[in-house]
Protein backbone atom coordinates (compact mmCIF):
# COMPACT_ATOMS: atom_id res chain seq x y z
CA UNK A 1 0.00 0.00 0.00
CA UNK A 2 2.89 2.28 0.85
CA UNK A 3 4.60 1.92 -2.50
CA UNK A 4 1.29 2.24 -4.27
CA UNK A 5 0.71 5.64 -2.70
CA UNK A 6 4.25 6.69 -3.49
CA UNK A 7 3.91 5.58 -7.10
CA UNK A 8 0.55 7.29 -7.34
CA UNK A 9 1.85 10.60 -6.01
CA UNK A 10 4.96 10.54 -8.13
CA UNK A 11 2.68 9.76 -11.07
CA UNK A 12 0.73 12.91 -10.23
CA UNK A 13 3.93 14.90 -10.35
CA UNK A 14 4.96 13.71 -13.80
CA UNK A 15 1.29 13.86 -14.72
CA UNK A 16 1.26 17.56 -13.96
CA UNK A 17 4.11 18.03 -16.38
CA UNK A 18 2.31 16.06 -19.07
CA UNK A 19 -0.78 18.11 -18.32
CA UNK A 20 1.10 21.36 -18.89
CA UNK A 21 2.56 20.25 -22.19
CA UNK A 22 -0.80 18.82 -23.24
CA UNK A 23 -2.37 22.18 -22.47
CA UNK A 24 0.19 23.89 -24.67
CA UNK A 25 -0.67 21.48 -27.48
CA UNK A 26 -4.38 22.11 -27.08
CA UNK A 27 -3.87 25.86 -27.11
CA UNK A 28 -1.98 25.80 -30.36
CA UNK A 29 -4.50 23.38 -31.83
CA UNK A 30 -7.40 25.62 -30.86
CA UNK A 31 -5.75 28.58 -32.52
CA UNK A 32 -4.47 26.89 -35.63
CA UNK A 33 -6.26 23.50 -36.03
CA UNK A 34 -2.80 21.97 -36.09
CA UNK A 35 -0.78 19.86 -33.74
CA UNK A 36 2.54 21.43 -32.89
CA UNK A 37 5.04 18.62 -33.15
CA UNK A 38 7.80 20.99 -32.18
CA UNK A 39 6.32 21.83 -28.77
CA UNK A 40 8.60 19.40 -26.97
CA UNK A 41 11.76 20.72 -28.56
CA UNK A 42 10.71 24.30 -27.83
CA UNK A 43 10.31 23.35 -24.18
CA UNK A 44 13.68 21.65 -24.20
CA UNK A 45 15.39 24.67 -25.65
CA UNK A 46 13.76 26.95 -23.07
CA UNK A 47 15.05 24.67 -20.34
CA UNK A 48 18.56 24.99 -21.71
CA UNK A 49 18.20 28.75 -21.67
CA UNK A 50 17.18 28.53 -18.02
CA UNK A 51 20.22 26.38 -17.36
CA UNK A 52 22.49 28.95 -18.99
CA UNK A 53 20.99 31.72 -16.88
CA UNK A 54 21.55 29.74 -13.70
CA UNK A 55 25.09 28.92 -14.77
CA UNK A 56 25.67 32.63 -15.33
CA UNK A 57 24.85 33.22 -11.69
CA UNK A 58 21.18 34.16 -11.69
CA UNK A 59 19.25 32.69 -8.73
CA UNK A 60 16.62 30.07 -9.60
CA UNK A 61 13.31 31.90 -9.47
CA UNK A 62 14.45 34.99 -11.38
CA UNK A 63 15.93 32.65 -13.97
CA UNK A 64 12.62 30.78 -14.09
CA UNK A 65 10.67 34.01 -14.62
CA UNK A 66 13.08 35.32 -17.23
CA UNK A 67 12.92 32.03 -19.12
CA UNK A 68 9.14 32.22 -19.18
CA UNK A 69 9.32 35.74 -20.57
CA UNK A 70 11.87 34.79 -23.23
CA UNK A 71 9.84 31.74 -24.23
CA UNK A 72 6.69 33.84 -24.47
CA UNK A 73 8.42 36.31 -26.75
CA UNK A 74 9.95 33.52 -28.82
CA UNK A 75 6.54 31.92 -29.30
CA UNK A 76 5.11 35.16 -30.62
CA UNK A 77 8.10 35.62 -32.88
CA UNK A 78 7.79 32.11 -34.29
CA UNK A 79 4.15 32.63 -35.15
CA UNK A 80 4.65 36.04 -36.68
CA UNK A 81 7.86 35.31 -38.56
CA UNK A 82 8.42 31.61 -39.15
CA UNK A 83 4.83 30.57 -39.77
CA UNK A 84 3.69 33.60 -41.71
CA UNK A 85 4.94 32.54 -45.19
CA UNK A 86 3.08 29.23 -45.09
CA UNK A 87 -0.05 30.59 -43.48
CA UNK A 88 -2.22 30.30 -46.58
CA UNK A 89 -1.11 26.82 -47.57
CA UNK A 90 -2.84 23.60 -46.68
CA UNK A 91 -2.08 21.64 -43.55
CA UNK A 92 0.86 19.56 -44.68
CA UNK A 93 3.33 22.31 -45.57
CA UNK A 94 2.72 23.74 -42.09
CA UNK A 95 3.30 20.34 -40.51
CA UNK A 96 6.57 20.15 -42.41
CA UNK A 97 7.57 23.58 -41.09
CA UNK A 98 6.91 22.35 -37.54
CA UNK A 99 9.08 19.37 -38.31
CA UNK A 100 11.80 21.65 -39.62
CA UNK A 101 11.63 23.63 -36.38
CA UNK A 102 11.84 20.45 -34.35
CA UNK A 103 14.92 19.32 -36.19
CA UNK A 104 16.62 22.73 -36.02
CA UNK A 105 16.04 23.14 -32.30
CA UNK A 106 17.25 19.66 -31.48
CA UNK A 107 20.34 20.08 -33.58
CA UNK A 108 21.22 23.58 -32.35
CA UNK A 109 20.79 22.52 -28.74
CA UNK A 110 23.12 19.62 -29.35
CA UNK A 111 25.62 21.89 -31.01
CA UNK A 112 25.63 24.62 -28.36
CA UNK A 113 25.29 22.45 -25.31
CA UNK A 114 26.53 19.05 -26.56
CA UNK A 115 24.69 15.83 -25.95
CA UNK A 116 26.08 15.12 -22.49
CA UNK A 117 23.42 14.61 -19.92
CA UNK A 118 23.43 17.27 -17.24
CA UNK A 119 21.69 17.72 -13.91
CA UNK A 120 19.23 20.57 -13.64
CA UNK A 121 18.69 22.38 -10.36
CA UNK A 122 15.46 22.11 -8.46
CA UNK A 123 14.27 25.04 -6.37
CA UNK A 124 12.79 22.69 -3.81
CA UNK A 125 14.67 21.12 -0.88
CA UNK A 126 16.08 17.67 -1.37
CA UNK A 127 14.67 16.28 1.87
CA UNK A 128 11.05 15.26 1.66
CA UNK A 129 8.54 17.37 3.52
CA UNK A 130 7.86 16.26 7.09
CA UNK A 131 10.23 13.35 6.62
CA UNK A 132 7.56 11.21 4.95
CA UNK A 133 8.48 8.81 2.24
CA UNK A 134 5.54 9.13 -0.10
CA UNK A 135 6.59 12.01 -2.22
CA UNK A 136 9.75 14.02 -2.75
CA UNK A 137 9.74 17.76 -2.25
CA UNK A 138 10.48 18.34 -5.89
CA UNK A 139 7.54 16.24 -6.99
CA UNK A 140 5.32 18.09 -4.55
CA UNK A 141 6.69 21.39 -5.75
CA UNK A 142 6.20 20.40 -9.37
CA UNK A 143 2.57 19.62 -8.71
CA UNK A 144 2.22 22.96 -6.99
CA UNK A 145 3.82 24.94 -9.81
CA UNK A 146 1.80 23.09 -12.42
CA UNK A 147 -1.48 23.66 -10.63
CA UNK A 148 -0.71 27.33 -10.01
CA UNK A 149 0.05 27.83 -13.67
CA UNK A 150 -3.06 26.00 -14.84
CA UNK A 151 -5.28 27.98 -12.49
CA UNK A 152 -3.75 31.23 -13.72
CA UNK A 153 -4.33 30.27 -17.34
CA UNK A 154 -7.89 29.26 -16.62
CA UNK A 155 -8.59 32.52 -14.87
CA UNK A 156 -7.03 34.46 -17.72
CA UNK A 157 -9.21 32.85 -20.35
CA UNK A 158 -12.37 32.81 -18.31
CA UNK A 159 -12.36 36.23 -16.68
CA UNK A 160 -10.36 38.68 -18.74
CA UNK A 161 -11.45 40.47 -21.92
CA UNK A 162 -8.22 39.48 -23.65
CA UNK A 163 -8.82 35.85 -22.79
CA UNK A 164 -12.35 36.09 -24.18
CA UNK A 165 -11.02 37.69 -27.35
CA UNK A 166 -8.49 34.88 -27.76
CA UNK A 167 -11.16 32.23 -27.31
CA UNK A 168 -13.36 33.95 -29.87
CA UNK A 169 -10.53 34.28 -32.36
CA UNK A 170 -9.74 30.58 -32.05
CA UNK A 171 -13.34 29.44 -32.42
CA UNK A 172 -14.49 31.67 -35.24
CA UNK A 173 -11.82 33.90 -36.75
CA UNK A 174 -14.14 35.54 -39.24
CA UNK A 175 -16.71 36.59 -36.67
CA UNK A 176 -13.90 37.71 -34.40
CA UNK A 177 -12.66 40.07 -37.07
CA UNK A 178 -16.18 41.41 -37.40
CA UNK A 179 -16.03 42.60 -33.81
CA UNK A 180 -12.68 44.22 -34.37
CA UNK A 181 -10.40 41.57 -32.87
CA UNK A 182 -6.96 41.39 -34.44
CA UNK A 183 -7.03 37.67 -35.05
CA UNK A 184 -3.43 37.37 -36.17
CA UNK A 185 -2.13 38.83 -32.92
CA UNK A 186 -4.47 36.65 -30.86
CA UNK A 187 -2.98 33.61 -32.51
CA UNK A 188 0.52 34.85 -31.84
CA UNK A 189 -0.38 35.37 -28.19
CA UNK A 190 -1.66 31.82 -28.08
CA UNK A 191 1.69 30.65 -29.35
CA UNK A 192 3.51 32.77 -26.81
CA UNK A 193 1.49 31.35 -23.94
CA UNK A 194 1.93 27.80 -25.20
CA UNK A 195 5.70 28.22 -25.31
CA UNK A 196 5.79 29.74 -21.85
CA UNK A 197 3.78 26.84 -20.46
CA UNK A 198 6.07 24.41 -22.24
CA UNK A 199 9.10 26.12 -20.72
CA UNK A 200 7.67 25.70 -17.22
CA UNK A 201 6.96 22.05 -17.94
CA UNK A 202 10.53 21.56 -19.15
CA UNK A 203 12.01 23.19 -16.09
CA UNK A 204 9.93 21.00 -13.81
CA UNK A 205 10.76 17.77 -15.59
CA UNK A 206 14.47 18.37 -16.11
CA UNK A 207 15.50 17.66 -12.49
CA UNK A 208 13.74 14.29 -12.81
CA UNK A 209 14.90 13.06 -16.21
CA UNK A 210 18.07 15.17 -16.46
CA UNK A 211 18.82 17.67 -19.15
CA UNK A 212 19.77 16.53 -22.64
CA UNK A 213 18.55 17.50 -26.10
CA UNK A 214 16.37 14.40 -26.41
CA UNK A 215 14.72 14.63 -23.02
CA UNK A 216 11.35 15.81 -24.26
CA UNK A 217 10.51 13.24 -26.93
CA UNK A 218 9.03 10.73 -24.51
CA UNK A 219 7.33 13.50 -22.56
CA UNK A 220 5.83 14.85 -25.77
CA UNK A 221 4.38 11.48 -26.62
CA UNK A 222 2.72 11.23 -23.23
CA UNK A 223 1.45 14.77 -23.62
CA UNK A 224 -0.07 13.80 -26.96
CA UNK A 225 -1.71 10.81 -25.34
CA UNK A 226 -3.02 13.07 -22.59
CA UNK A 227 -4.37 15.66 -25.01
CA UNK A 228 -6.11 12.98 -27.05
CA UNK A 229 -7.59 11.29 -24.02
CA UNK A 230 -8.99 14.56 -22.84
CA UNK A 231 -10.22 15.59 -26.25
CA UNK A 232 -7.90 17.68 -28.39
CA UNK A 233 -10.11 20.75 -28.15
CA UNK A 234 -10.72 20.59 -24.44
CA UNK A 235 -8.18 22.27 -22.13
CA UNK A 236 -9.69 20.73 -18.99
CA UNK A 237 -9.62 17.35 -20.64
CA UNK A 238 -5.97 17.84 -21.48
CA UNK A 239 -5.16 18.61 -17.87
CA UNK A 240 -7.11 15.63 -16.59
CA UNK A 241 -5.58 13.48 -19.30
CA UNK A 242 -2.12 14.55 -18.22
CA UNK A 243 -2.57 13.51 -14.62
CA UNK A 244 -4.30 10.33 -15.73
CA UNK A 245 -1.47 9.35 -18.06
CA UNK A 246 1.16 10.19 -15.44
CA UNK A 247 -0.40 7.97 -12.82
CA UNK A 248 -1.13 5.22 -15.32
CA UNK A 249 2.44 5.25 -16.60
CA UNK A 250 3.86 4.95 -13.10
CA UNK A 251 1.52 2.26 -11.92
CA UNK A 252 1.87 0.18 -15.06
CA UNK A 253 5.62 0.64 -15.01
CA UNK A 254 5.87 -0.45 -11.38
CA UNK A 255 3.40 -3.31 -11.35
CA UNK A 256 2.75 -4.60 -14.81
CA UNK A 257 5.23 -4.16 -17.60
CA UNK A 258 8.44 -2.82 -16.17
CA UNK A 259 10.30 0.21 -17.42
CA UNK A 260 11.24 -1.11 -20.82
CA UNK A 261 8.05 -0.90 -22.77
CA UNK A 262 6.68 2.37 -21.47
CA UNK A 263 6.54 4.07 -24.84
CA UNK A 264 4.81 1.09 -26.38
CA UNK A 265 2.25 1.34 -23.62
CA UNK A 266 1.73 4.99 -24.44
CA UNK A 267 1.14 3.99 -28.03
CA UNK A 268 -1.31 1.29 -27.02
CA UNK A 269 -3.18 3.75 -24.81
CA UNK A 270 -3.40 6.27 -27.61
CA UNK A 271 -4.74 3.74 -30.06
CA UNK A 272 -7.16 2.27 -27.53
CA UNK A 273 -8.63 5.66 -26.71
CA UNK A 274 -8.86 6.64 -30.34
CA UNK A 275 -10.60 3.44 -31.27
CA UNK A 276 -13.04 3.47 -28.42
CA UNK A 277 -13.75 7.15 -28.14
CA UNK A 278 -11.97 9.28 -30.76
CA UNK A 279 -13.17 12.55 -29.38
CA UNK A 280 -11.56 11.73 -26.05
CA UNK A 281 -13.16 11.32 -22.66
CA UNK A 282 -14.40 14.85 -22.59
CA UNK A 283 -14.68 15.52 -26.28
CA UNK A 284 -17.45 17.94 -26.84
CA UNK A 285 -20.69 16.83 -28.33
CA UNK A 286 -22.10 20.27 -28.63
CA UNK A 287 -25.75 20.95 -29.11
CA UNK A 288 -26.15 23.18 -32.10
CA UNK A 289 -29.29 24.45 -33.69
CA UNK A 290 -28.90 25.67 -37.18
Amino acid sequence: MDTFLAQFLSGLATGGIYASLALALVMVHQATRLVNFAQGELAMFSTYIAWSLVQAGLPYWPAFALTLAISFAAGIAIDRIVLRPVRGSSALPMVVVFIGLLVILNSVAGWIYSYTVRPFPSPFPSEPLFGQHYISSHDLGAIGVTLAMLVAIYAFFRFTPLGLAMRAAAQNPESARLVGIRVGWMRALGWGLACAIGAAAGMMVAPIVFLDPNMMSGVLLYAFAAALIGGIDNPFGAVFGGFFVGVLENLLGAYVIGQELKLTVALAVIIAVLVVKPSGLFGRTLVRRV
Partner: protein
Protein backbone atom coordinates in the same frame (compact mmCIF):
# COMPACT_ATOMS: atom_id res chain seq x y z
CA UNK B 1 -9.00 19.46 -82.36
CA UNK B 2 -7.00 22.13 -84.09
CA UNK B 3 -7.06 24.74 -81.35
CA UNK B 4 -3.37 25.23 -80.97
CA UNK B 5 -2.73 22.40 -78.56
CA UNK B 6 -0.50 19.55 -79.54
CA UNK B 7 -2.55 16.44 -80.26
CA UNK B 8 -2.46 13.95 -77.42
CA UNK B 9 -0.46 11.27 -79.14
CA UNK B 10 2.39 13.62 -79.88
CA UNK B 11 2.77 14.60 -76.26
CA UNK B 12 2.58 11.00 -75.13
CA UNK B 13 5.22 10.03 -77.66
CA UNK B 14 7.47 12.83 -76.43
CA UNK B 15 7.03 11.67 -72.87
CA UNK B 16 7.71 8.08 -73.76
CA UNK B 17 10.87 9.03 -75.60
CA UNK B 18 12.06 10.99 -72.59
CA UNK B 19 11.37 8.05 -70.29
CA UNK B 20 13.21 5.68 -72.59
CA UNK B 21 16.22 7.99 -72.66
CA UNK B 22 16.12 8.22 -68.88
CA UNK B 23 16.05 4.45 -68.60
CA UNK B 24 19.08 4.08 -70.84
CA UNK B 25 20.93 6.67 -68.76
CA UNK B 26 20.01 4.88 -65.53
CA UNK B 27 21.34 1.61 -66.89
CA UNK B 28 24.61 3.19 -67.86
CA UNK B 29 25.27 5.01 -64.60
CA UNK B 30 26.54 2.14 -62.44
CA UNK B 31 29.43 1.65 -64.81
CA UNK B 32 30.48 5.27 -64.61
CA UNK B 33 30.22 5.92 -60.88
CA UNK B 34 32.01 4.67 -57.79
CA UNK B 35 30.56 1.80 -55.77
CA UNK B 36 29.52 4.16 -53.04
CA UNK B 37 27.57 6.39 -55.42
CA UNK B 38 25.91 3.31 -56.89
CA UNK B 39 24.94 2.31 -53.36
CA UNK B 40 23.48 5.75 -52.76
CA UNK B 41 21.43 5.60 -55.96
CA UNK B 42 20.15 2.18 -54.96
CA UNK B 43 18.91 3.69 -51.72
CA UNK B 44 17.28 6.53 -53.64
CA UNK B 45 15.30 4.00 -55.64
CA UNK B 46 14.28 2.10 -52.50
CA UNK B 47 13.14 5.39 -50.92
CA UNK B 48 11.26 6.28 -54.09
CA UNK B 49 9.17 3.13 -53.71
CA UNK B 50 8.57 4.03 -50.06
CA UNK B 51 7.53 7.56 -50.92
CA UNK B 52 5.20 6.36 -53.66
CA UNK B 53 3.48 4.26 -51.03
CA UNK B 54 3.28 7.09 -48.55
CA UNK B 55 2.08 9.48 -51.22
CA UNK B 56 -0.74 7.11 -52.03
CA UNK B 57 -1.95 7.30 -48.48
CA UNK B 58 -1.29 10.92 -47.67
CA UNK B 59 -1.23 12.71 -50.99
CA UNK B 60 -4.00 10.91 -52.84
CA UNK B 61 -6.13 9.62 -50.00
CA UNK B 62 -5.59 12.41 -47.50
CA UNK B 63 -4.62 10.27 -44.51
CA UNK B 64 -1.58 11.82 -42.84
CA UNK B 65 0.94 9.26 -41.64
CA UNK B 66 3.93 10.11 -39.52
CA UNK B 67 4.61 6.46 -38.86
CA UNK B 68 5.64 4.92 -42.13
CA UNK B 69 9.10 4.31 -40.75
CA UNK B 70 7.44 1.49 -38.84
CA UNK B 71 6.36 -0.28 -42.04
CA UNK B 72 9.79 0.31 -43.51
CA UNK B 73 11.19 -1.37 -40.41
CA UNK B 74 8.82 -4.30 -40.69
CA UNK B 75 9.89 -4.88 -44.29
CA UNK B 76 13.55 -4.48 -43.37
CA UNK B 77 13.38 -6.81 -40.37
CA UNK B 78 11.33 -9.38 -42.27
CA UNK B 79 14.05 -9.55 -44.91
CA UNK B 80 16.85 -9.60 -42.37
CA UNK B 81 15.31 -12.32 -40.24
CA UNK B 82 14.48 -14.52 -43.23
CA UNK B 83 17.94 -14.12 -44.76
CA UNK B 84 19.92 -14.43 -41.56
CA UNK B 85 17.96 -17.00 -39.55
CA UNK B 86 16.47 -19.08 -42.34
CA UNK B 87 18.83 -18.62 -45.24
CA UNK B 88 16.04 -17.51 -47.55
CA UNK B 89 17.40 -16.02 -50.80
CA UNK B 90 17.06 -12.25 -50.90
CA UNK B 91 14.62 -12.08 -53.78
CA UNK B 92 12.22 -14.48 -52.08
CA UNK B 93 12.06 -12.27 -49.01
CA UNK B 94 10.39 -9.48 -50.97
CA UNK B 95 6.97 -11.11 -51.36
CA UNK B 96 7.02 -12.04 -47.68
CA UNK B 97 7.93 -8.52 -46.63
CA UNK B 98 5.22 -7.21 -48.94
CA UNK B 99 2.59 -9.55 -47.52
CA UNK B 100 3.56 -8.81 -43.93
CA UNK B 101 3.30 -5.09 -44.48
CA UNK B 102 0.07 -5.35 -46.43
CA UNK B 103 -1.53 -7.13 -43.51
CA UNK B 104 0.05 -4.86 -40.90
CA UNK B 105 -1.01 -1.76 -42.80
CA UNK B 106 -4.54 -2.98 -43.26
CA UNK B 107 -4.80 -3.88 -39.57
CA UNK B 108 -3.51 -0.45 -38.58
CA UNK B 109 -5.84 1.15 -41.07
CA UNK B 110 -8.91 -0.34 -39.41
CA UNK B 111 -8.80 1.58 -36.12
CA UNK B 112 -7.34 4.51 -37.99
CA UNK B 113 -10.62 4.82 -39.88
CA UNK B 114 -12.11 6.84 -37.10
CA UNK B 115 -9.29 9.34 -36.99
CA UNK B 116 -9.03 12.63 -38.79
CA UNK B 117 -6.05 14.79 -39.66
CA UNK B 118 -4.08 15.63 -36.53
CA UNK B 119 -5.41 12.63 -34.58
CA UNK B 120 -4.19 10.23 -37.23
CA UNK B 121 -0.88 12.04 -37.49
CA UNK B 122 -0.47 11.69 -33.74
CA UNK B 123 -1.38 8.02 -33.65
CA UNK B 124 1.07 7.24 -36.42
CA UNK B 125 3.71 9.43 -34.79
CA UNK B 126 3.24 7.43 -31.60
CA UNK B 127 3.86 4.30 -33.63
CA UNK B 128 7.09 5.76 -34.98
CA UNK B 129 8.37 6.87 -31.58
CA UNK B 130 7.45 3.65 -29.80
CA UNK B 131 8.80 1.20 -32.35
CA UNK B 132 12.53 1.36 -31.56
CA UNK B 133 11.81 0.61 -27.93
CA UNK B 134 9.67 -2.34 -28.94
CA UNK B 135 12.39 -3.64 -31.24
CA UNK B 136 14.89 -3.54 -28.40
CA UNK B 137 12.63 -5.50 -26.05
CA UNK B 138 14.48 -8.35 -24.41
CA UNK B 139 11.91 -11.06 -25.12
CA UNK B 140 12.09 -10.36 -28.84
CA UNK B 141 15.86 -10.39 -28.93
CA UNK B 142 16.34 -13.91 -30.36
CA UNK B 143 14.40 -12.65 -33.38
CA UNK B 144 15.42 -9.05 -33.71
CA UNK B 145 18.94 -9.22 -32.42
CA UNK B 146 18.12 -6.57 -29.83
CA UNK B 147 20.17 -3.41 -29.82
CA UNK B 148 22.89 -4.96 -31.97
CA UNK B 149 20.50 -5.70 -34.77
CA UNK B 150 21.11 -8.14 -37.59
CA UNK B 151 23.71 -8.06 -40.32
CA UNK B 152 22.99 -9.37 -43.80
CA UNK B 153 25.36 -10.65 -46.40
CA UNK B 154 25.27 -8.79 -49.69
CA UNK B 155 23.94 -11.06 -52.41
CA UNK B 156 26.18 -11.94 -55.35
CA UNK B 157 25.12 -11.30 -58.90
CA UNK B 158 23.45 -14.39 -60.37
CA UNK B 159 24.50 -16.44 -63.36
CA UNK B 160 28.11 -15.26 -62.88
CA UNK B 161 27.39 -11.91 -64.58
CA UNK B 162 30.52 -9.75 -64.98
CA UNK B 163 29.35 -6.99 -62.61
CA UNK B 164 30.02 -6.46 -58.92
CA UNK B 165 27.54 -6.96 -56.11
CA UNK B 166 26.72 -3.25 -55.75
CA UNK B 167 25.94 -2.95 -59.43
CA UNK B 168 23.79 -6.05 -59.36
CA UNK B 169 21.84 -4.75 -56.41
CA UNK B 170 21.37 -1.46 -58.28
CA UNK B 171 19.81 -3.22 -61.28
CA UNK B 172 17.72 -5.46 -59.09
CA UNK B 173 16.34 -2.47 -57.19
CA UNK B 174 15.83 -0.59 -60.45
CA UNK B 175 13.79 -3.47 -61.83
CA UNK B 176 11.70 -3.62 -58.67
CA UNK B 177 11.21 0.13 -58.78
CA UNK B 178 9.97 -0.02 -62.37
CA UNK B 179 7.54 -2.79 -61.46
CA UNK B 180 6.26 -0.96 -58.39
CA UNK B 181 5.89 2.36 -60.17
CA UNK B 182 4.02 0.72 -63.04
CA UNK B 183 1.75 -0.99 -60.52
CA UNK B 184 1.28 2.25 -58.62
CA UNK B 185 0.56 4.25 -61.72
CA UNK B 186 -2.10 1.82 -62.88
CA UNK B 187 -3.71 1.83 -59.49
CA UNK B 188 -3.76 5.60 -59.19
CA UNK B 189 -4.76 6.40 -62.75
CA UNK B 190 -7.75 4.10 -62.69
CA UNK B 191 -10.98 3.84 -60.76
CA UNK B 192 -9.27 3.02 -57.51
CA UNK B 193 -7.13 6.12 -57.66
CA UNK B 194 -10.12 8.30 -58.41
CA UNK B 195 -11.99 6.75 -55.53
CA UNK B 196 -9.08 7.53 -53.21
CA UNK B 197 -9.02 11.14 -54.28
CA UNK B 198 -12.78 11.40 -53.97
CA UNK B 199 -12.56 10.16 -50.41
CA UNK B 200 -9.88 12.74 -49.67
CA UNK B 201 -11.71 15.69 -51.16
CA UNK B 202 -15.30 15.02 -50.21
CA UNK B 203 -15.99 11.91 -48.18
CA UNK B 204 -19.71 12.54 -47.93
CA UNK B 205 -20.15 12.84 -51.66
CA UNK B 206 -17.94 9.82 -52.20
CA UNK B 207 -20.08 7.74 -49.92
CA UNK B 208 -23.20 8.98 -51.65
CA UNK B 209 -21.73 7.76 -54.93
CA UNK B 210 -21.47 4.28 -53.51
CA UNK B 211 -17.79 4.12 -52.56
CA UNK B 212 -17.23 1.95 -49.51
CA UNK B 213 -15.10 4.41 -47.58
CA UNK B 214 -14.06 2.05 -44.80
CA UNK B 215 -12.88 -0.58 -47.23
CA UNK B 216 -10.99 1.83 -49.45
CA UNK B 217 -9.29 3.67 -46.61
CA UNK B 218 -8.06 0.51 -44.92
CA UNK B 219 -7.00 -1.02 -48.21
CA UNK B 220 -5.12 2.14 -49.10
CA UNK B 221 -3.34 1.93 -45.79
CA UNK B 222 -2.47 -1.68 -46.51
CA UNK B 223 -1.24 -1.08 -50.03
CA UNK B 224 0.70 1.98 -48.95
CA UNK B 225 2.35 -0.04 -46.19
CA UNK B 226 3.12 -2.80 -48.67
CA UNK B 227 4.99 -0.44 -50.99
CA UNK B 228 6.88 0.98 -48.02
CA UNK B 229 7.73 -2.49 -46.77
CA UNK B 230 9.18 -3.49 -50.14
CA UNK B 231 11.26 -0.34 -50.08
CA UNK B 232 12.38 -1.27 -46.58
CA UNK B 233 13.37 -4.74 -47.65
CA UNK B 234 15.39 -3.40 -50.57
CA UNK B 235 16.95 -0.78 -48.36
CA UNK B 236 17.96 -3.35 -45.77
CA UNK B 237 19.63 -5.51 -48.39
CA UNK B 238 21.54 -2.53 -49.69
CA UNK B 239 22.66 -1.32 -46.27
CA UNK B 240 23.30 -4.91 -45.14
CA UNK B 241 22.24 -4.08 -41.61
CA UNK B 242 19.12 -3.51 -39.52
CA UNK B 243 19.07 -2.09 -36.00
CA UNK B 244 16.29 -0.52 -33.90
CA UNK B 245 17.77 2.95 -33.79
CA UNK B 246 17.79 3.30 -37.57
CA UNK B 247 14.01 3.19 -37.60
CA UNK B 248 13.04 5.85 -35.14
CA UNK B 249 10.84 8.91 -35.43
CA UNK B 250 13.40 10.66 -37.60
CA UNK B 251 12.91 8.19 -40.42
CA UNK B 252 9.15 8.63 -40.47
CA UNK B 253 9.61 12.38 -40.36
CA UNK B 254 12.05 12.20 -43.26
CA UNK B 255 9.51 10.27 -45.33
CA UNK B 256 6.80 12.87 -44.77
CA UNK B 257 9.23 15.65 -45.58
CA UNK B 258 10.12 13.69 -48.70
CA UNK B 259 6.62 13.53 -50.15
CA UNK B 260 5.79 17.12 -49.33
CA UNK B 261 9.04 18.41 -50.80
CA UNK B 262 8.70 16.10 -53.77
CA UNK B 263 5.10 17.01 -54.46
CA UNK B 264 2.00 15.63 -52.79
CA UNK B 265 -0.40 13.68 -54.92
CA UNK B 266 2.01 13.12 -57.78
CA UNK B 267 3.93 10.07 -58.89
CA UNK B 268 7.08 11.88 -59.90
CA UNK B 269 7.05 13.57 -56.51
CA UNK B 270 8.14 10.28 -54.99
CA UNK B 271 11.30 10.36 -57.06
CA UNK B 272 12.15 13.99 -56.37
CA UNK B 273 11.50 13.41 -52.69
CA UNK B 274 13.72 10.35 -52.57
CA UNK B 275 16.57 12.32 -54.10
CA UNK B 276 16.01 15.07 -51.54
CA UNK B 277 16.04 12.85 -48.46
CA UNK B 278 19.07 10.90 -49.60
CA UNK B 279 21.33 13.74 -50.68
CA UNK B 280 20.31 16.86 -48.82
CA UNK B 281 21.53 15.59 -45.43
CA UNK B 282 24.90 15.06 -47.09
CA UNK B 283 24.89 18.61 -48.40
CA UNK B 284 23.81 19.89 -45.01
CA UNK B 285 26.63 17.97 -43.44
CA UNK B 286 29.11 19.62 -45.75
CA UNK B 287 27.81 23.08 -44.93
CA UNK B 288 27.99 22.65 -41.21
CA UNK B 289 29.78 19.76 -39.58
CA UNK B 290 28.59 20.87 -36.18
CA UNK B 291 24.84 21.05 -36.69
CA UNK B 292 23.95 19.43 -40.02
CA UNK B 293 20.34 18.78 -39.05
CA UNK B 294 19.85 22.44 -38.32
CA UNK B 295 20.82 23.21 -41.91
CA UNK B 296 18.54 20.42 -43.09
CA UNK B 297 15.66 21.87 -41.08
CA UNK B 298 16.29 25.34 -42.49
CA UNK B 299 16.39 24.02 -46.03
CA UNK B 300 13.14 22.18 -45.48
CA UNK B 301 11.45 25.30 -44.13
CA UNK B 302 12.78 27.44 -46.98
CA UNK B 303 11.45 24.87 -49.42
CA UNK B 304 8.02 25.20 -47.90
CA UNK B 305 8.18 28.98 -48.19
CA UNK B 306 9.20 28.95 -51.83
CA UNK B 307 7.45 25.86 -53.19
CA UNK B 308 4.78 24.45 -50.91
CA UNK B 309 3.53 22.37 -53.81
CA UNK B 310 6.87 20.63 -53.95
CA UNK B 311 9.33 20.04 -56.74
CA UNK B 312 6.66 18.37 -58.88
CA UNK B 313 4.48 21.47 -59.00
CA UNK B 314 7.51 23.66 -59.67
CA UNK B 315 8.60 21.35 -62.50
CA UNK B 316 5.08 21.41 -63.89
CA UNK B 317 5.09 25.20 -63.83
CA UNK B 318 8.43 25.33 -65.61
CA UNK B 319 7.35 22.84 -68.28
CA UNK B 320 4.11 24.77 -68.90
CA UNK B 321 6.05 28.00 -69.45
CA UNK B 322 8.42 26.13 -71.73
CA UNK B 323 5.61 24.61 -73.78
CA UNK B 324 3.99 27.98 -74.20
CA UNK B 325 7.17 29.23 -75.86
CA UNK B 326 7.39 26.43 -78.50
Amino acid sequence: MADGNLPRTRIARGKRAALAALLVALCGLPFLLSNFSVFQLTLVMAYAIVLLGLNMLTGYNGQISLGHGAFYAIGAYATAILMDHYGVPYWMTLPVAAAACLVAGFLFGLPALRLEGPYLALATFALAVALPQLLKYKSLEPWTGGVQGITIVKPDPPFGLPINADQWLYFFTLAMAIVMFALGRNLLAGRIGRAMVAIRDNPIAAEAMGIDIALYKSLTFGVSAMFTGIGGALGAIAVQFVAPDSFGAFLSIAFLVGIVVGGLGTIQGAIYGAIFIQFVPNIADRISRAAPWAIYGMMVILFMYLAPGGVASFAHYVSKRWRRRT
